[in-house]
């Protein structure tokens, strides 16, 4: 059974993790977020968020729509500039000039960020070259990725003509082509066929088994339960809960605030509040 509680402050959370060695696992910290805040005018999308994630973990980052998940990933990947706070990846501070650091991370961003007028192999080759792969490796990995992703038959289609699931596969392939040390995935499984999802999950498990780190957002809580080691739930930009979920797959439960939750969904709904509404006309 995992006992966890909402941190009184994110500072406390960080200090606790550092003292405990991140849930008892003494691994170097892959991702460190300290007092991250991101505002848009009067809207605070991420509010004083602090987290540290050790290497070799598959980390699920959850929250309701508009909670600040994608904003957090945006800040972690250099897409957005934090309004305040500090981000450290693999021990190096993330700055606009951190090109060498960016080569060590792979990103599947919100909206996928594909170039719709390129062919899949052109897009993957573009990414591979930008991340410093030589021509021979680029060619080899692109062919291999297209083959295993089942995209070879769509070689003559531009990405703009791909289905949503195929586009996700291409974005995933682009994120991993340079074999990054940290992988940021924003809702990676939605719209992909079940066989494709199973393959991606298997890759992710092997990815973290090799000592690398995955930071992932998704709304599919069952997937998180079975796949992730650690989970954080945010609500309105603030950390609402952080803990391990591995025991749920073995029939265990999460204890929080004096209650036991047998599923992540139950805990999630408890934390973010259930949405209820009656449509009498339906």
């Amino acid at each position: 059974m995992n006992k966890s509680s909402a941190p009184e402050s994110t500072d406390q959370l960080i200090s606790t993790r550092n003292e405990e060695g991140s849930h008892g696992i003494s691994a170097p910290i892959a991702i460190s977020i300290e007092h991250l805040t991101k505002t848009y005018g009067n809207l605070t999308a991420v509010d004083d968020l602090s987290l540290s994630i050790p290497t070799g973990r598959l980390f699920g980052f959850l929250g309701p729509n508009g909670a600040g998940k994608s904003t957090t990933i945006g800040c972690l990947t250099g897409l957005l500039d934090p309004s305040a706070g500090r981000i450290t990846l693999l021990g190096e501070p993330l700055t606009l000039e951190a090109a060498a650091l960016k080569r060590r991370i792979g990103i599947m961003p919100e909206g996928l960020a594909l170039f719709d007028q390129l062919y899949a192999h052109e897009f993957l080759a573009f990414n591979a070259r930008m991340f410093g792969l030589d021509e021979r490796t680029t060619r080899q990995r692109v062919e291999e990725l297209l083959e295993v992703m089942g995209l070879t038959t769509s070689r003559h289609k531009r990405l703009g003509d791909f289905s949503t699931g195929m586009r996700k596969k291409v974005a995933f392939a682009a994120a991993i082509i340079h074999r990054p040390e940290i992988l940021f995935l924003d809702e990676p499984f939605e719209s992909i066929d079940p066989a494709g999802v199973a393959m991606l999950k298997d890759w992710l498990r092997r990815f973290v088994a090799g000592g690398r780190t995955v930071f992932m957002t998704t709304h599919v809580l069952e997937t998180v339960e079975r796949l992730c080691d650690d989970v954080a739930i945010i609500k309105a930009g603030r950390l609402a809960w952080r803990g391990e979920v591995g025991m749920l797959a073995e029939g265990g439960a999460i204890e929080f605030g004096g209650q036991r939750f047998g599923t992540l969904e139950a805990l999630f709904l408890h934390l973010v509040g259930e949405q209820r509404g009656q449509l009498d006309w339906l």
Partner: protein
């Protein structure tokens, strides 16, 4: 059921206007508001002078009512087509047959909805006001009947709309095919090059017989038959004209129906540039290891964009325009060509060079996550525009030397080349800033309408005004010999423009880094966070 249909139709028309208003509220839409105000003023002007009573009064007083009505209606007809091509008026993608299928509409219902929405586009009000004004004018002055004129005016509007939509549809489909840009460019090239010459040839008193022949043909065109109905009553000739106008309407409707039943060719299905050592990558390799992938991507976007292809194929037209604008005078010919040549290297690439991220859509986010400065993408795309545009200059100079009709000397060649190079650097330098300060998300596949941002329009309009002001000043104040004696000014200007470009490359790059988030939000859409 009919009530439901009319409700749905009304809701779609309102949606069309809401979308127009939403676009007008954006920064790039403000120029549209300015243009609409201009059009409104023109509408009032047309209604009270040329289009309405004024034209009718002039026509009746001169005893040439039908001829004047024919002239006005022909102008309106051509104007309607031209403004639709420029502004992309007509049935929109947002109200295409495919999109309308989500609503409970039959095939006929969708067809009606699409064209009613297109016909109720604000720009058509100008034509409606002018044509109805003309009809009422003739009726009030006793030269026509309101019962014949008004239906004829409305039918004329319908025919104008159908002809425009048919032409736009043809252009759209032609551009989607592999050779479409070339075919259309050849047609546009021919029209632009020779229509002006043909008109001036026809207006020459020596060719009056030809002019009369053309006038006879024009009587059977939609404006011609509508003019007969507007300026006369229901005589035998009027009845024939009415049948002809209805015939035009039916023929255009049938042609449009036949065209729409044919599925459009998929552009990507016909493209198969899948080789690894492609032309794009070899060319991009010239820019070094760090820029090569970005230039390779930019090259693909530039050369796959129909607007750019069209621009590149039509750029050599500048070699001919100077001669047309020079009125046969070698000095005017050369100076106008000199002014025009400053656009040769830039004209083809304007669609992207003035708004480099505009066609990337959500892809713009990728630039921010790549292990390269955001400004590097701006520079790479600008280098690509320089490369493509630069390749256009020398061949166009050679073409000019062959067709100019003036005695070509080496100083002229140097001046023209320098003008091209100066313009290439100068306008691309401005393009860096319009990209950063006036970005606009645009549809890569759209081939119609003015898709430039406010900043892009200012650069184009201001650029033309600037170089032609310089050319006209030289034409008035300097002799040909003086202009040629100062030939070295232009190479110097090219060097200065290069320096200006280098400076802008640095400063606009910094601005792009600073404005990265708003740029991404504008191009990729709100919700980038």
């Amino acid at each position: 059921m009919r009530s439901n249909f009319s409700h749905l139709l009304w809701a779609l028309v309102r949606l069309r206007y809401r979308l127009l208003w939403a676009q007008a509220r954006t920064s790039s839409g403000r120029i549209a508001i300015l243009l609409m105000v201009y059009l409104l003023v023109m509408l009032v002007f047309l209604f009270f002078s040329l289009g309405g009573f004024g034209a009718a009064m002039v026509g009746v007083k001169l005893g040439r009512g039908e001829a004047i009505a024919r002239g006005v209606l022909t102008s309106l007809f051509v104007w309607g087509i031209m403004i639709s091509v420029v502004f992309g008026v007509g049935p929109r993608a947002a109200f295409s047959d495919v999109v309308l299928r989500r609503y409970p509409l039959t095939a006929i219902g969708r067809l009606t909805a699409r064209h009613l929405i297109g016909l109720l586009d604000p720009v058509w009000f100008l034509l409606v006001a002018s044509a109805i004004g003309l009809a009422i004018g003739f009726a009030v002055l006793g030269a026509g009947s309101v019962f014949v004129g008004l239906p004829a005016a409305l039918l004329f509007i319908a025919v104008s709309y159908l002809a425009t939509v048919l032409l736009l549809s043809l252009i759209d489909r032609t551009m989607q095919s592999g050779t479409g840009a070339t075919v259309l460019s050849a047609v546009a090239f021919g029209l632009l090059s020779f229509s002006g010459l043909a008109i001036s040839w026809l207006l020459d008193p020596r060719h009056v017989a030809w002019l009369q022949a053309v006038d006879r043909v024009l009587r059977f065109t939609p404006p011609g038959v509508a003019a007969t109905l507007l300026a006369g009553s229901m005589t035998a000739a009027g009845a024939v004209s009415a049948v002809l106008l209805i015939g035009w309407c039916a023929a255009l409707l049938a042609a449009l129906g036949a065209l729409e039943r044919r599925p459009p060719a998929s552009p990507s299905a016909t493209s198969a540039a899948t080789g690894w050592d492609s032309f794009y990558d070899r060319l991009a390799g010239l820019f070094g290891q760090s820029y090569a992938p970005l230039v390779g991507k930019a090259l693909r976007y530039y050369l796959r964009c129909n607007r750019v292809r069209f621009g590149l194929v039509t750029a050599p037209i500048f070699a001919f325009l100077g001669r047309m604008m020079g009125h046969g005078d070698p000095k005017e010919n050369f100076l106008m060509t000199l002014a025009l040549f400053s656009f040769v290297g830039f004209a083809g690439t304007t669609a992207i060079a003035l708004n480099q991220f505009g066609y990337d859509g959500a892809g713009i986010r990728r630039y921010a996550i790549l292990p390269a400065p955001f400004a590097a993408t701006l520079r790479a795309s600008s280098f690509t525009a320089l490369l493509i545009g630069g390749l256009m200059i020398a061949p166009t100079v050679v073409l000019w030397a062959l067709v100019s009709g003036v005695t070509v000397e080496p100083r002229m060649i140097v001046m023209l080349l320098s003008s091209g190079v100066a313009g290439l650097f100068f306008f691309n330098a401005l393009g860096l800033w319009t990209t950063v300060l006036s970005p606009k998300s645009v549809d890569f596949r759209s081939v119609l309408g003015n898709q430039l941002s406010v900043g892009g329009n200012i650069v184009i309009i201001g650029g033309f005004a600037l170089v032609f002001a310089a050319a006209f000043t030289l034409i008035r104040r300097a002799s040909f010999e003086t202009v040629l004696a100062y030939w070295w000014v232009l190479p110097l200007l090219a060097v200065l423009c290069f320096g200006f470009y280098a400076l802008m490359l640095q400063s606009a790059g910094k601005a792009a880094e600073a404005r990265r988030e708003p740029l991404i939000e504008t191009i990729a859409g709100a919700g980038a966070h």
